[in-house]
């Protein structure tokens, strides 16, 4: 055997061995890798309570931007919730392929104003996103939210299959679920629900709106809707809940469709208490918090107060 041939053959053998060994090592890591993908993310973005301000402030004004500002100012202003440099995620309800007038999605004017306020407060980045039921491209378009939020300076993200993180929600019913990254990978989370009727949970307001952070087969959650809502609310604690009650869908929810089902209330209210938000919101549908089972269960679980007046309540009419 010549030296040249010897070197060549040895080289080939080494290369093959390296490929084999390398492949083995790579695949050996797979288990660990998938384990790492289950991210220990937290959904707690709450700010400390401040007794100087009411727990909830409600404003009624047919100028919806003014209503939002009045309500937020009464809560201590945007600066109480957003620090300069924060990454902020805003979660409106963009569930359905419906126009703003049909009252199935959050009012785009309010979303845009919220984006603007966050940027004014010095937020480094404002993301607006939601996991829609219908085709997200259509929902984001027809709801008017994409255009309005982008004009105001937000980054609007359409949910993408690659953008989910497996997260342990540590709930009774909800354990490991895929959650859209911006909802856990952020500094501040602002929940911006709209008040709607729902035939199983009675109402879709703040806590039910959090369904929109989940991927996977969430339609199966209706089998235990109350527990799933409470699990979600226990995991996901938004910085602020801004409830859109400008147009309230009183029938045919959560998708609506008919303008006859919409009641114009021209109201916006802000709170840091999710249970209180739902309790107050339910009143627009002719309910009270203590009649709605998931609100009762949430209050029992210590997530907030059904009596929204207990922590201070201010109305600006």
């Amino acid at each position: 055997m010549e030296r040249r041939e010897f070197l060549k053959k040895t080289g080939q053998a080494l290369a093959l061995a390296a490929i084999t060994g390398g492949t083995g090592l790579l695949f050996n890591n797979r288990q660990k890798f998938t384990y790492d993908r289950l991210m220990a993310k937290t959904g707690d973005f709450a700010v400390p309570a401040d007794s100087a301000f009411p727990g909830m402030a409600l404003a009624k004004n047919n100028d919806h931007v003014a209503a939002l500002n009045a309500s937020l100012d009464a809560m201590g202003g945007i600066k109480r919730f957003i620090r300069p440099g924060d990454r902020v995620t805003i979660k409106p309800n963009i569930g359905w392929d419906r126009t703003p007038a049909q009252g199935a999605n959050t009012n785009p004017v309010l979303v845009a104003e919220m984006v603007r306020l966050c940027l004014v407060a010095g937020a480094a980045k404002v993301i607006v996103t939601d996991i829609s039921c219908n085709d997200p491209r259509r929902c984001f378009l027809r709801s008017g939210i994409k255009e309005a939020a982008e004009k105001a300076g937000a980054k609007v993200i359409l949910p993408d299959d690659d953008e989910f993180v497996k997260t342990d929600l540590k709930g009774e019913l909800l354990t490991v679920w895929p959650v859209l990254k911006p909802f856990v990978d952020t500094d501040r989370l602002i929940n911006m629900p709209i008040v709607k009727q729902h035939s199983l949970s009675s109402c879709t307001i703040g806590m039910k709106n959090l369904y929109g952070i989940l991927g996977g087969r969430r339609n199966q959650l209706h089998q235990q809707i109350d527990q799933s809502i409470v699990d979600l609310a226990a995991f996901c604690r938004p910085t602020l809940v801004v409830v859109d009650a400008t147009r309230v869908l009183t029938r045919g929810g959560p998708q609506g469709g008919s303008l006859d089902d919409v009641f114009v209330a021209d109201t916006v209210f802000c709170t840091t208490d999710q249970v209180a938000a739902d309790s107050r919101g339910a009143e627009f549908l002719g309910l009270t918090g203590d009649k709605v089972s998931h609100i009762i269960l949430a209050a029992k679980s210590g997530l907030g107060m059904i009596d929204y007046r207990a922590a201070g309540y201010k109305e600006i009419i």
């Binding site: 790579l26 890591n29 797979r30 890798f33 790492d36 392929d97 126009t99 039921c133 219908n134 085709d135 491209r137 259509r138 984001f140 378009l141 027809r142 008017g144 994409k146 255009e147 982008e150 729902h198 035939s199 199983l200 087969r217 339609n219 199966q220 209706h222 089998q223 235990q224 809707i225 029938r251 045919g252 959560p254 998708q255 609506g256 469709g257 008919s258 089902d261």
Partner: protein, 562 residues
């Protein structure tokens, strides 16, 4: 202009038309314009099906089958009329499938049988080239009697269907698969590079969501077979199968542009035969077949002694060694008559099956705005544009759901995707009017106008959670998009096996309101076979396929006559 320039022009023309065709299919997709002037009506910005409207065979087939020239189909005259004067320029210069066949045929190969003498021999006119004329006569006669099957082999729908439902989704699946595989190594830079490559190609080639199509292996198999055949016989499809080529061949019968052979100049080097695309015998010593020539001009370009020239009103000398060109299309009368007879027999043969008695397929849900089934079959060319454009991946090619007669025509499979109430894209892209474009108002209905229905929903009470398993669930009602909702709930007390009374809301369907969109079936959490499902009964397009004597909104004027 030298002949070399003209050949280069032809090459440019082939590339441009192919890319345009491909690009139009890529654009047959819901790419949202986020600053729309009128968001209530979402329309595609481009007339993406225009290429199909230039197809003379589609024009002739639909004209014979349903007696109308739909929309822009008159554009096909732009192809047809020049063909009468100069011959099959379309095949050599324009046809995207022809170009694809050309390139795959000519792609360099080391295989001996494609070189030298064998290649020359394979490029001589062969009897099998007559087959395309018999196919043409067969399908055209069938169309005359009302069954439009021409789209199966018409090159433009063939290519549109193959690219839209097979090639692009396959690329998508492969790209996602490779990306996931590379990422699974967990090596940061590698994942980033893979993601970067993916993100580069995604906006161009990939749809927003991966499309999964029903039963596409048949379409894919045929497409691959046609491509592979090129490696055995140059442009086998164009020479032997293509009914559009046959039609254009027939129309080029009186062409005044053609090949003039200068016999004394010829040295019999056979250079012309080596690169003849149409197998039309350009060489001296054989009769030139006008109807087979694709006007690729290779023979003239490659002839070292300039013995071959294309010109208007060429002289055709008949000498002892050089037969005159064949002016007539080379077909035998007997076989043409047999083809015609076959075409006549096709419709009764296809419609003698049981689907035309009482048990038509109840799961055959046609897209919204579809014509009544008979008219639909007389219009649909199976181009797959509706399937490609559907944002919910709801439309799929049938295999046998519509019988053999309707193979690859669109069917809605609600489990995969429902019909978005406010979407009218399938009607916008249909080139032949099989699916009529609805306005938003016509689709969803209003106070004065009934909605378009594609079927009716039914509940399978043996699988429905509140009906069969004493579990709450209202997802179908939640998703029902009509207003008021066609799915309504009644609260009942049901008992589990221990006898505990449980209050659940059981879904019911109001047939007056249901449009059959399938959102309920799509969303039903009973994952495999849904507990609520749609069937075609009650569809607006059919006067017969109705469930109730008087159903609110079934106005006779609203039903299309066949």
């Amino acid at each position: 202009m030298t002949i070399a320039t003209v050949r280069n022009l032809r090459r440019i023309s082939q590339v441009v038309f192919f890319l345009t065709f491909f690009w139009l299919i890529l654009k047959t997709n819901f790419q949202v314009n986020f600053n729309p002037a009128n968001p209530d009506e979402i329309t595609l910005p481009l007339p993406v099906s225009i290429a199909l409207q230039f197809d003379p065979l589609t024009a002739l087939g639909t004209l014979l089958a349903n007696g109308t020239l739909f929309k822009g189909i008159l554009w096909s005259l732009v192809i047809l009329i020049p063909t009468i004067f100069i011959g099959r320029f379309f095949c050599g210069w324009v046809c995207p499938l022809g170009s694809l066949n050309h390139w795959i045929s000519e792609f360099p190969s080391e295989r001996a049988r494609r070189k030298g003498g064998r290649k020359i021999e394979s490029n001589r006119y062969k009897k099998y080239q007559r087959i395309k004329y018999y196919i043409f006569f067969f399908f055209i006669t069938a169309a005359l009697f009302g069954t439009l099957q021409i789209g199966l082999l018409d090159p433009l729908p063939f290519l549109a269907r193959s690219i839209g439902t097979v090639v692009l989704p396959t690329i998508h699946t492969a790209a996602s698969g490779i990306l996931g595989w590379v990422k699974s190594f967990g090596l940061g830079p590698l994942s980033t590079a893979a993601q970067f490559a993916y993100d580069l190609m995604a906006p161009l080639f990939l749809t927003f969501r991966q499309a999964h199509f029903h039963t596409i292996l048949t379409i894919g198999f045929l497409f691959v077979a046609v491509m592979i055949l090129n490696r055995i016989f140059t442009r086998f499809w164009c020479r032997g199968i293509c009914p559009l080529g046959a039609m254009l061949g027939i129309f080029s019968r009186y062409a005044i542009f053609g090949l003039q052979k200068n016999e004394p100049a010829c040295t019999h080097c056979n250079e012309c035969l080596l690169h003849c695309q149409g197998a039309d015998n350009p060489d001296i010593g054989a009769p030139w077949h006008q109807a087979e020539c694709h006007l690729c001009l290779n023979c003239q370009g490659l002839c070292p002694t300039s013995a071959l020239k294309f010109k208007f009103l060429p002289e055709h000398n008949l000498t002892r060694t050089n037969p005159a060109p064949v002016q007539k299309v080379d077909i035998s009368r007997r076989k043409v008559i047999a083809s015609l007879a076959g075409g006549v027999a096709l419709l009764p043969l296809l419609r003698s099956g049981d689907a035309f008695a009482v048990n038509a397929n109840s799961l055959l849900i046609r897209p919204p705005g579809s014509a009544a089934e008979e008219d639909f079959i007389a219009r649909c060319i199976r181009c797959g544009q509706c399937m490609r454009v559907c944002p919910n991946n709801a439309l799929h090619p049938t295999l046998m759901e519509a019988g053999l007669e309707g193979i690859w025509s669109p069917i809605l499979i609600a489990r995969i995707g429902y019909c978005e109430p406010t979407c009218t894209l399938c009607g916008q892209v249909c080139p032949t009017g099989a699916i009529v474009e609805l306005t938003l108002k016509q689709k969803v209905g209003g106070a004065d106008i009934t909605p378009n229905r594609i079927g009716t929903a039914f509940i399978d009470k043996g699988r429905c959670l509140p009906w069969a398993m004493a579990k709450p669930c209202i997802v179908c009602e939640e998703w029902c998009p009509t207003s008021p909702k066609a799915v309504y709930l009644r609260e009942e007390t049901v008992y589990d096996r221990r006898g505990n009374g449980i209050k659940v809301k059981q879904p019911h369907i109001d047939p007056d309101l249901c449009t059959g969109c399938g959102a309920c079936e799509f969303a039903c959490p009973v994952v495999d076979r849904a507990a609520i499902y749609i069937t075609s009964i009650g569809e607006s397009r059919s006067a017969e396929n109705q469930i109730l004597l008087q159903r609110k909104g079934i106005a006779q004027s609203n039903i299309r006559k066949g």
